[in-house]
Symmetry: C2
Subunit: 244 residues, 2 copies
DNA sequence: AAACAAGCCTGCAATTTATCAGTTATTGGT
DNA sequence: ACCAATAACTGATAAATTGCAGGCTTGTTT
């Protein structure tokens, strides 16, 4: 990979992350084996972790950081199909297709642990809980994506932008210092999540600001009134458990 | 369940289906155990298999038939988020949320095998290949849904309807007798897949018919020119492997 | 501090899509 | 074969969204 850095080789046992499928669900023997064969790298903000069309050699685990998973369409227009943070997985297991149908980009400096297919397959067959929990992860992501699919199909732009902000708050949280979202994305990236264009995002953000639902400080966004934003999209979710 | 029928009790070993996760990936001991605890029922066309908000007690395996998975939004407007056929799974594994965020409806008479959570969890921990293949199933569905997410966000109505037809052809195939799609859905259901309304679907289907891309015979649709339909959406998919 | 670039904001015109209303065609039951 | 009910079709109108152009703000470099 181009300008990725290798990590100083901390053993998995002493890894500081508090959210890792290997650490939590593999036997100590297998943590050792995986520690041997894993490959840790730093991807800087904006750097591709993998691109659409790249061959799939294994799975990427986010040790520390944040990434966007994007799908590119007509005229290079992007759709962010998923956001991922520490502990999450990038890339889908093989099943025939050997190339990535989506790309992944670090949205801040991000440490990735990579595991190759061979090691993984052995690990899956020898660590049922590891496999089971990865299955739950995919099932949960599928459920979330299915709901988002409906939202993109049915919501107005105002609603989609409101939901985008709530999703960011829920996924990445807020900074203690100023209460702003713990992630910075440009208007175009917000549009790529909400499924619209940068101009519309600007319009809606300005509108939300005038209604005192949010405040802007440079690139950072502060959600002032979550309930107000939730109100905008509330009638789309019959069941409360569907929200965000 | 209301008016579902119980199946004559064929043992899993003698089940005629050629596509079943249990048959293919569980040990013979476990096929026996699962055979004991499973529950088979017939759901007639249009009948709910489960509804949004129902409690999750286990997984539904489609033994024979077809189903749509829908998510209901504002004013009861539905979005079909997934189509499923024999061998597929309905319902996502638990992970905290105990109720279905989506509903499932039979789109033709459908036999379902139901397995409860307790039996399933034991099966998962004792049949690594079973768990592994279920994980692959979810990962594959996630990948497909992510691509569809972008399509719904970026395509025009014409493109979405074209893709809908191609998806139906790919998923359910064509009847040998007349070459028509091996599934019948009303205009509203096509609209619920494509993310638009019934009127627009009618308009596009008429247009496709005039261009000799499809033919209509009553409710049935015959795809005459797959490549023609593919052409309409081709430029949305940079990589050929993404198509449908 | 000035100059520059990049990103953000705003209004308007053009296009697309949704909605509504009315008509025609199909289907299923008697 | 008929009738009633349902679904499909079509056109007109209204609403929402997009795309473009130009100005403004912010942050960075020299």
């Amino acid at each position: 990979m181009a300008n990725t850095q290798k990590r100083e080789n901390t053993h998995c046992c002493h890894c500081s992350t508090n959210c890792c499928f290997v650490q939590d669900f593999c036997s100590s023997t297998w943590v050792g084996i995986i520690n041997q064969s894993r490959n840790s790298s730093l991807y800087q903000k904006g750097q591709y972790i993998f691109r659409e069309g790249d061959r799939v050699f294994g799975l990427h685990f986010i040790q520390q950081g944040k990434a966007k998973i994007t799908s590119t369409g007509l005229n290079g227009r992007e759709q962010i199909v998923r956001l991922a943070k520490s502990g999450h997985i990038l890339g889908h297991m093989g099943n025939g297709s050997e190339t990535y149908p989506v790309g992944a980009v670090a949205i801040e400096d991000t440490w990735i642990c990579f595991l190759d297919n061979t090691t993984l397959n052995d690990a899956f067959l020898n660590n049922p809980k590891f496999t089971y929990n990865l299955m739950l992860f995919y099932a949960t992501e599928l459920r979330k994506t299915e709901i988002r699919l409906r939202h993109l199909a049915q919501m107005t732009i105002k609603e989609k932008v409101a939901e985008c902000l709530l999703t960011l708050k829920k996924t990445f949280g807020e900074r203690t210092e100023d209460g702003s979202l713990n992630v910075t994305l440009c208007r175009q990236e917000l549009a790529d999540i909400a499924g619209t264009n940068a101009e519309q995002v600007t319009r809606e953000l300005t509108d939300f600001e005038n209604q005192l639902l949010i405040a802007k400080s440079g690139k950072r966004i502060i959600v002032l009134d979550s309930d107000g934003l939730l109100n905008i999209i509330a009638h789309h979710n019959i069941n409360k458990y569907l929200s965000v």
